[in-house]
């Protein structure tokens, strides 16, 4: 039962619930018109304490496509936060104005705190370097759409695996599906946190191979998930400059990949995928962003108890 729930971490959703969301999203993608009045009369509040064009607009588009309305702020500098209001007070007031809330916050754990004081479902739209469950839903939906099933997949994840919240969420979630194998490619400074690695190996007994080389492993994976090295997650500019060019995917490198490779990226990219790669039929990152709207539509509808 998803109605009325908070979605803070992708782990809040069971494999069955993930499948329910993905299946509804696929139906919405196939026939969006059919769902155009599904959330009529409902209001989504978008509380964005740090800038994020894509996630916010994707949520807003999702709600508007289902006939719902949207309120919110996209810059904490212009909101009551600037006056020093704490999260608990903000959510206690704003959850009276909307039927569902999505929150992005630079502080890790902020949406969980908000959910403890909210009268309506809270969706985590990204909290610092921690979790980003709707990106994970988008990723799962994309894999299902192109690979038809989420099982027996070898997936390489490349880039910033230490701070990248999309990666943490994806790892934890995919680990729960049958026979998933991970190749984790990153500079040694940006490897996944050891506690995360230990916990998914302990819980799900998945195979994880860590490496620093993209070239050596590109030829034997079904999915390649590229991520950017985010400037804002670094404490020093020098460190950022040193690492940002570490992994750039070019047509040359892709020659060695499988013909049926699914190439994904949560976007925005900086320079980790060269523009020439966009023409490659295996590059699906813009399609992934399109599917993200349907993933969010399905999630909002189910949390509001309106799936058909």
């Amino acid at each position: 039962m998803l109605q009325g729930r908070h979605i803070i971490d992708a782990s809040d959703l069971s494999v069955e619930e993930l499948s329910t969301i993905v299946n509804l999203a696929l139906k919405m993608n196939a026939d969006p018109e059919k769902f155009s009045n599904l959330c009529k009369g409902k209001i989504l509040a978008t509380l964005f304490y740090e800038p994020s064009t894509r996630t916010r607009l994707s949520f807003e588009s999702a709600m508007l496509r289902m006939g719902g309305s949207v309120i919110g702020f996209s810059d904490a500098e212009t909101s009551s936060v600037k006056k020093g209001e704490n999260i608990a007070d903000t959510i206690r007031v704003l959850s009276n104005y909307a039927h569902i809330v999505v929150m992005r916050h630079p502080r890790e754990g902020a949406p969980l705190l908000a959910s403890q004081y909210s009268r309506v479902p809270v969706i985590n739209g990204g909290d610092g370097g921690h979790q980003h469950p709707t990106q994970t839903l988008t990723d799962i939906l994309t894999i299902k759409y192109y690979k038809k099933d989420i099982r027996d997949i070898k997936i390489a994840i490349c880039g910033d695996l230490l701070f990248g919240r999309t990666v943490h969420s994806l790892l934890k979630t995919l680990s729960r599906f049958p026979n998933i194998e991970f190749v984790l490619i990153s500079p040694s400074e940006l490897r996944i946190p050891y506690h995360l690695k230990n916990s998914i190996i302990e819980k799900h007994n998945v195979k994880i191979f860590e490496t620093t080389s993209l070239e050596e492993h590109i030829n034997d994976v079904n999915v390649l998930y590229m991520t950017r090295i985010q400037k804002e997650r670094f404490f020093s500019e020098d460190e950022y400059i040193k690492l940002k060019g570490s992994y750039i995917l070019t047509p040359e490198k892709l020659k060695h990949a499988r013909k049926d490779l699914l190439l994904m990226h949560p976007l925005p990219r900086v320079n980790e995928i060269s523009y020439e790669v966009d023409m490659d039929p295996r590059a699906k990152y813009f399609e992934q962003a399109r599917l993200g709207v349907f993933a969010r539509m399905a999630l909002i509808a189910l949390l509001l108890g309106r799936s058909h």
């Binding site: 704490n86 502080r107 754990g109 969980l112 705190l113 921690h130």
Partner: protein, 143 residues
């Protein structure tokens, strides 16, 4: 030989490892109590050789989780009418709230007064490690 009499009502924290008595005394802020408190250090012990003991008259409301973090071998005796009515061994707390800060500078608990740091014990033989319930970062508890 220094003699300290027993208490008639209250709590005795016994079998404290030598040196931990003062730490527990400070962490429990026992100097703030207006009742009689005795801290005994380096007392002869059959089991430990030497030990520390804390006796608190007319007061039993202490935070056992703090004891569990500092000294897992201590025992707590509740005294009534000069008799021990219950004896409990301290355990490492599985969940702790508000006793120490999350080490992650990006964690919401480091800036928001409503977010009181909460942790869940991560089993580890050598270290006292706790996972933050908000940001999931691991913090090792050290005094």
């Amino acid at each position: 030989m220094l003699k300290v009499t027993g208490i008639t009502q209250g709590i005795v924290i016994d079998h404290i490892k030598t040196g931990n008595g003062l730490k527990i005394f400070n962490k429990l802020r026992l100097d703030k109590l207006d009742t009689t408190v005795v801290l005994l250090m380096n007392v002869d012990s059959k089991a430990l050789g030497r030990k520390d003991i804390i006796k608190i008259q007319d007061y039993t409301d202490i935070n056992i989780d703090i004891l569990g973090l500092i000294d897992q071998n201590a025992t707590i005796n509740i005294i009534k009418n000069s008799k021990i009515i219950s004896k409990t061994k301290v355990e490492i707390p599985k969940k702790v709230k508000g006793l120490f800060q999350c080490r992650n500078p990006r964690c919401i608990t480091t800036i928001d007064d409503y977010a009181i740091s909460e942790f869940t014990l991560v089993p580890n033989e050598d270290k006292l490690q706790y996972r933050c319930n908000y940001c999931e970062e691991i913090t090792e508890y050290k005094l």
